[in-house]
């Protein structure tokens, strides 16, 4: 039983990492990973929302009617996002400014809705909380790793501390939009290389966890995955 709980917790770290394996939540991943500190801040904010929404949705799973469950989930998630937004504004104004519009957009982050739909409405409160912690840490790890790469190459520093000390000119393109797509692409290719393509099937499954999957499948035959 204890192993089981541990498995739920560690599932999100690497085996089902929401960003690198399931390829969910691509928008914030690309947008805020320009500086390690922003990546970490975004990751932790999302983790908080994920944990609380998982706990809430799993404890309300018998009360919420099946037909209107998605709007209900969105209200729960939006409430926690607003709380996090206000807390950031009050205590971390710099981070709030840096993340800007991507804070309210946590609401439409498919990781959160995906975990609500895939995990929290089928499992117990404790399991759902653990899943939220695990997935949140996985998201934070991936985001911070990517942000470290981009910050190091793009501005020659790490967590705001200059490392290259003007010896090497930083490649500014890496903190701009094209560098985001490029770094993300290379990281996913690396994961494919390390796992010898085993995760590529999961990338397709990851799409099934998305709340839009049903409509997406109608939109295009198997078009949701790439």
């Amino acid at each position: 039983m204890k192993d089981n709980k541990l498995a739920i917790l560690t599932n999100g770290f690497i085996k089902e990492n929401p960003v690198l394996v399931l390829v969910l939540g691509t928008c914030p991943t690309l947008a805020v990973s320009t500086q390690a500190i922003n990546g970490l801040g975004m990751g932790l904010s999302t983790t908080v929302v994920l944990i609380f929404s998982n706990i809430f949705i799993s404890s309300l799973k018998r009360v919420i009617p099946d037909k209107v469950r998605i709007p209900c989930y969105i209200v729960v998630i939006a409430t926690f996002v607003t709380i996090v937004q206000l807390l950031l504004k009050a205590y971390f104004p710099d981070l709030d400014r840096a993340l800007g519009i991507y804070i309210p957009l946590i609401v439409v982050n498919c990781i959160i809705l995906g975990r609500a739909e895939m995990f929290a409405n089928k499992n117990s409160v404790v399991d759902s909380a653990l899943d939220g912690v695990g997935m949140g840490i996985g998201f934070t790890l991936a985001l911070t790793a990517m942000a470290c790469v981009r910050e190091l190459i793009g501005s020659g520093s790490l967590f705001g501390i200059s490392l290259t000390a003007h010896l090497i000119d930083p490649m500014a393109i890496f903190v701009l939009a094209p560098g985001g797509f490029f770094t993300f692409g290379v990281m996913i290719a690396l994961v494919n290389k390390i796992t010898r393509g085993k995760v590529r099937d999961k990338q397709k499954q990851g799409c099934a966890g998305c709340a839009q999957a049903a409509a997406c499948g109608q939109a295009e035959e198997g078009g949701c995955q790439s």
Partner: protein, 197 residues
């Protein structure tokens, strides 16, 4: 007129939602495989973006702000957008069935598209007036359409090429998006140059 052109040009090219601001990446990567579905999706996005701006701007400025509950923005906006999309779908099915056949399947997808919520929140953050907000939303939607159109063409070419095994699937798509995004960076300077900002 000059201001209107500037807002639209900036939203379409310089601040392209997908390639510069990273909003709406999911449909950009997901539905860009075939040109016709990419176009259907994009037209639906333009439509919903303008509609939801027309609904959320008055709500924020006439209802939430005067009553001091501006912080309810996120919750209210997402609910309004979700309800609006449902309403539009029902109305479209009843009154314009031909259009519904074309766009209907894309509408539910758009509710949780971050580009739609993004443009509504951005309009408020930028302090745009009502007309300016509508223009900006329209421009953002057209920018999404252009990015989707270009990318659908690019992806057709990638599929038929031979590249390293590890890059198969989403990795190659992201690298291609990176190159496309690079070309859009050039527009940033262009708009500043034309309008002398």
């Amino acid at each position: 007129m000059r201001e209107a052109t500037m807002i639209i040009m900036a939203a379409v090219l310089g601040n392209n939602f997908v390639l510069v601001k990273f909003l709406g990446i999911c449909p950009f990567l997901g539905v860009s495989k075939k040109l016709d579905s990419a176009m259907g999706m994009s037209i639906a996005v333009v439509f919903v973006m303008v509609m939801s701006t027309a609904a959320t701007w008055p709500i924020q400025n006439l209802l939430l702000e005067p009553n001091g509950i501006g912080y309810m923005q996120t919750i209210v906006f997402i609910l309004v957008i979700a309800a609006l999309v449902q309403l539009v779908e029902i109305a479209m099915k009843k009154f314009v069935p031909a259009l519904h056949r074309g766009l209907g399947v894309y509408l539910p997808l758009i509710t949780t598209n971050c580009a739609v919520l993004g443009v509504c929140v951005l309009n408020i953050d930028e302090g745009y007036g009502f007309a300016q907000s509508l223009l900006n939303s329209f421009g953002a939607g057209v920018g999404f359409l252009i990015a989707m159109f270009l990318f659908a063409g690019v992806r057709g070419r990638i599929e038929s090429n031979d590249y390293p095994e590890s890059f198969k699937g989403i990795a190659s798509t992201l690298i291609a998006a990176s190159i496309l995004s690079l070309s859009f960076m050039g527009f940033a300077g262009m708009i500043d140059g034309i309008f002398g900002m």
